[in-house]
Symmetry: C2
Subunit: 306 residues, 2 copies
């Protein structure tokens, strides 16, 4: 089981010569998701040689342009490339209207099944579950309705404790799947061997939290406690805390506070304001409180496995 995250863009507001706005490609347990889709995302997908057809799910945090202006172009390109597999888009209410209006006026109906899952709840909810992953919203606090997303692998099957199993001749290879699934074993004499005596706890499912855009918002902490990796926006440095408050963004230090209080394993900063020419101070500021901090930069690739 593994998690592979590629940063496609991680700067705020507007694409510039050397920077791209928010987008990430996440491969978790063999399911491929795109998280946010700023203008130019399809260009970045090509640059990092990510096959368009692999994307099955797209998650849009909110309707500020730097998080979704690339979506209509990407959908159109899917169409031009002859996509026929289904695409699921999760995002705020209104996103469907924006996309369908443009498809209608350009007479560019797509030939693949396009499913919109519009979000409007202010509570965290399970929005996607299949055999491999689960995705929950993380309600954020920004100028407009915004969700982060928590991606988790489905629990791994229990590991067989072959040393213990070998003590029971009655347990056959055909029974292994039931044991992996947590079932107890009943001997022919009616005696029950508890599953925990025959199996070992598997590794914990990997979990990734994406939180952008948001002001400092402690209510998210219970949702992201102990996760393996947290991407948290850090638009400003502490010296511009006033701007962060005014625009409902976070500072690098505040992102570290959230990571620290939620006891996450790694913190990834991003969504930097263009006012800063160097990102070093972001790392420095967050690392004071939370050592395991890294800077997101386009092209970064993070691989976790359990």
């Amino acid at each position: 089981m593994s998690l592979r995250l590629t940063i496609l863009g991680c700067h705020s507001a507007t694409p510039r010569s050397l920077t791209y706005t928010s987008s990430q490609f996440l491969e978790m347990n063999n399911e491929c998701c795109l998280i946010d889709c700023g203008e130019g995302t399809q260009r970045q997908l090509r640059k990092y040689k990510i096959k368009f057809s692999r994307i099955k799910y797209i998650f849009i945090s909110h309707l500020h342009g730097d998080h979704f202006f690339g979506l209509i172009g990407l959908i159109s390109t899917f169409s031009l490339l002859g996509r026929n597999s289904e695409l699921h888009i999760y995002g705020p209410k209104g996103l469907k209207e924006i996309i369908l209006l443009q498809l209608k006026l350009s007479k560019s109906w797509v030939d693949f099944p396009l499913h919109f899952h519009e979000l409007s709840s202010s509570e965290s909810e399970l929005i996607l579950e299949n055999d491999r992953i689960k995705v929950y919203t993380i309600p954020l606090k920004h100028r407009i309705y915004t969700n982060g997303f928590l991606f988790t692998e489905q629990p791994l099957p229990r590991k067989l404790n072959m040393k213990e199993i070998s003590k029971y001749k009655e347990i056959d290879i055909c029974d292994y799947q039931n044991l992996k699934n947590g079932k107890d074993f009943t001997l022919t004499d009616g005696k029950i061997i508890p599953n925990k005596d025959l199996t070992i706890d598997p590794a914990e499912p990997l979990r990734y939290g994406y939180c952008s855009d948001t002001e400092y918002h402690e209510e998210i902490i219970p949702l992201i406690e102990n996760i393996d990796l947290l991407y948290h926006e850090a638009t400003f440095l502490e010296e511009h805390r006033d701007l962060a408050e005014k625009t409902k963004h976070s500072t690098a230090y505040q992102a570290a506070q959230i990571a620290h209080k939620a006891k996450v394993k790694r913190l990834l900063l991003g969504h930097y304001s263009s006012r800063y020419t160097s990102l070093d101070l972001f790392l420095e500021e967050a690392s004071i409180l939370f050592k395991n901090t890294e800077l997101a930069e386009a092209g970064n690739h993070i691989h976790l496995s359990n």
Copy 2:
């Protein structure tokens, strides 16, 4: 008086690693226009160091994504950059709805005057006239409602024929402006000196025609006769004439036919399909019929003066 044209993107369908979709920056007689605005246009503007604030008019040919998906991002960036001067957008009916819906849902109202001029006529019409330029639509024939645009300088003032003028002591320097404007001069004895005896014809106003996307469409010829520069789409080569007909595009040879029949001075080809790895054959094919053909490529800069 001059015309400066910078190609920002000239490939069809979808942005790729090395190519951008349709957009051009035109400076004519000191008025700055953007023609079409595919995704990534604002990136190209930065690359070619064109100040965003110079753009006063934007012309959108039609609502296929490769001609307008960059517009909402550009408008948002204008806003972020603190623009306060007015912006005029000319394009098909529906464009306003697309832009305003996105501004509304992102709660990103612009602070500058944003004027939409929606087009729906199937006849050529004068859509913009000021002291410096005039812009007419060129109705094209494509899969959806599409206009090309004819940009012309306002007529230049007549040139003074100082040799002739010096024969008349009564003509004072104060009268020069009237003569430049074409007025006759009346002597005190009542005799009228015709303007043509006192002035010389000025250079012809420069004219530029942008025609994309369209199938071969001879009806445009009277509108673009003898113009200084014609950009005509050439999505395909003759070997794919069937595809051109099916998709209502033109071949390089057909673009040359239009240029030849309209007796334009120069032809610029563009809107190439991505199926071609080299553009040399486009130039070759069109040049058979029309020698003065050039290939548009991103970053090309054409300067004409009279």
